[in-house]
């Protein structure tokens, strides 16, 4: 059991930058950024390829830089060339498949065999942490990313990004170009996604071309789970909720894996249902409310007739 919790914590923290990224793109900028899947893989392949070449730390930073570029392409498509925002992400995501193959020199996966990674380096440096050194490193990176994001959102630039999703007219009236803020926002969010990919790649010692499929839906589920538990009133709460949601999701995943309450193949369907339901919830609530009102009104009317 302890082992399950430890693994869930590690995986939860490893993947947590993606719900953080969606907190920025989906919640704050109000954009469903479909670049996420391909961007995650991009982060992984860049980081693993550079780790294989002997530069694991540089690999992580280059992964994030690659994420920024991916976000930039999606942002350009939608802010400059009028491509609808969902489609812009889908197009970039599609093109990234080829880019990812290129980075890996044409093969569909790269493995790290007895190569130095961020984690082997840290294990040596932080021997006091013993078996928990991986988790410690992941936690440091993920929490640093979250802290950086919260700080960024409190700066003047961050404020204008937040206002862009809220009321773009007002941003324009404040002498800031909403195209610019949207672009910066998508660059930052995709760098977080790629950071997660970069960490996961070195943690698992492998990068695979198909490892990103559906990750945007899982990350949305994490974000929604976290927000349900913690609320999303402030930027701080929203960011913490994204991390917490990611951990909870991995705990659920681990429990299902262990106990098989739900067959393993059913997990994706379950995730899809959770996400669809959570996003549809406000509308469903409204419709139920209206139906009740109609029912009461008709009862009232027939009562008067009698």
């Amino acid at each position: 059991m302890a082992y399950i919790i430890k693994t869930a914590l590690e995986l939860g923290l490893l993947y947590a930058p993606i719900p953080l990224a969606l907190f920025l793109s989906f919640r704050i900028l109000n954009i469903a950024d479909m670049t996420t899947d391909g961007c995650f893989v991009l982060g992984a392949v860049v980081s693993v390829t550079w780790a294989a070449a002997g530069h694991p730390v540089l690999g992580i930073f280059l992964a994030m830089a690659a994420g920024v570029l991916a976000g930039f392409v999606t942002a350009m498509l939608q802010t400059r060339f009028g491509v609808p925002s969902i489609l812009a992400g889908i197009i970039t995501n599609f093109g990234l498949y080829t880019v990812n193959l290129w980075v890996m020199g044409g093969s569909s996966n790269v493995n790290l065999l007895k190569t130095e990674t961020l984690f082997t380096m840290f294990r040596r440096g932080a021997s006091f942490a013993g078996a928990y050194s991986d988790m410690l490193l992941i936690a440091i990176i993920t929490f640093a990313a979250a802290a950086g994001l919260i700080w960024f959102l409190s700066t003047r630039l961050g404020l204008s990004i937040r206002a862009t999703g809220d009321n773009a007219d007002m941003v324009r009236a404040s002498s800031v170009n909403p195209r610019f803020t949207t672009t910066v926002g998508l660059c930052v969010s995709n760098s977080l996604t790629a950071l997660s990919g970069g960490m996961v790649g070195q943690y698992q010692n492998t990068a695979d071309i198909n490892s990103g499929t559906g990750i945007v839906v899982i990350a949305l589920a994490c974000l929604i789970i976290g927000e349900t538990v913690l609320g999303k009133k402030s930027m701080f709460k929203g960011a913490v909720a994204a991390i917490l949601g990611s951990i909870i999701y991995r705990v659920i995943y681990a429990v299902v894996l262990k106990t098989r309450i739900v067959p393993m193949q059913g997990l994706k369907l379950m995730t899809a249902v959770v996400v669809a339901f959570a996003i549809a919830f406000p509308t469903i609530k409204e419709q139920l409310h209206f139906a009740r009102k109609k029912h009461l009104a008709s009862k009232d009317a027939s009562g008067k007739e009698a």
């Binding site: 003047r156 009321n167 404040s174």
Partner: protein
């Protein structure tokens, strides 16, 4: 101060929905003018404001502000020197952000040259607090509240403050009190007058209230069908009553003023 030289704007040209919103309009606004604008439905009043603010570029003509040609300057760049308010109180503020954060955003207009990574300073906060207290709505004690919690009147007063916190060269008010109840509208108009006066701001205001059009500012324009059909100021304007204005409109245009809201409010 602000000069429009022969500007035109046609929407959906070449289609069945083609609409000449402004045609060959020229206007010279003097420094410190407070102009009120009235006109029929679809006369081009809001289009005129959109053209000045840069929501679109005009098809023809030139726009000068303070001697500088701004005809092709983008909207967000013009907004450094042009403040604007709409009828809809929801349009001017970001609902999920706090009063303080909204003001900080508006204050960005003065920020040229400062780092985009700087944050709201204690001095900014003190400044915001002082300015808010001038509104007399108690908002200075609610700076951490999201703007979405405020009433329409409070939001509109806040938007007014945001539009003028960095003194603009021109302030455009598009029926900014029309959605408020009479009492609140009166208060926002008084605030507008005192802020405009204190800052010596050049101001254009669209209104459907004839009395307000004549009692506010120093010059009144009547618009119809994309043109300015009447431009009164000084002695001539002082002598006018709302009835005279409707009569004058009829004489000029040859038809009744077609704006039910104007007619209902006179």
């Amino acid at each position: 101060m602000l000069e429009l030289r022969n500007i035109s704007k046609t929407f959906a040209p070449g289609t069945v929905n083609e609409k000449k919103a402004i045609s060959g309009l020229s206007l010279n606004v003097e420094d410190g003018d407070f102009i009120t604008i009235i006109g029929s439905n679809g006369a081009g009043k809001s289009t005129l404001f959109n053209a000045i603010a840069g929501s679109f570029f005009v098809d023809d003509g030139f726009i000068f502000l303070g001697g500088q040609d701004i005809t092709y300057l983008e909207e967000h760049k013009r907004s450094r020197v042009i403040g604007r308010m709409f009828q809809d109180p929801l349009k001017g503020t970001a609902p999920s952000m706090t009063i303080e954060e909204n003001l900080a955003l508006a204050y960005l207009r003065s920020s040229e040259g400062t780092s985009p990574f700087s944050r709201i300073s204690a001095r900014d906060k003190k400044n915001f607090r002082e300015q808010l207290s001038k509104l007399g709505m108690g908002l200075e004690d609610r700076m951490k509240d999201p703007v979405g919690l405020l009433s329409g009147g409070q939001r509109q007063a806040l938007t007014l403050l945001m539009a003028t916190i960095v003194t603009p060269k021109v302030l455009l008010l598009d029926e900014h009190t029309a959605a408020l109840d009479p009492g609140t509208a009166e208060k926002v108009i008084e605030l507008t007058k005192s802020i405009v006066e204190a800052g010596h701001i050049t101001c254009l205001m669209i209104t459907h209230n004839m009395k307000q059009a004549l009692s506010t500012g120093n010059r009144t324009l009547l618009m119809n069908d994309g043109h300015i059909v009447l431009d009164v100021s000084g002695e001539e304007r002082n002598a006018l009553t709302p009835k005279d204005l409707i009569e004058k409109f009829k004489n000029k245009v040859g038809e009744e003023l077609d704006n039910d809201r104007i007619l209902l409010s006179t």
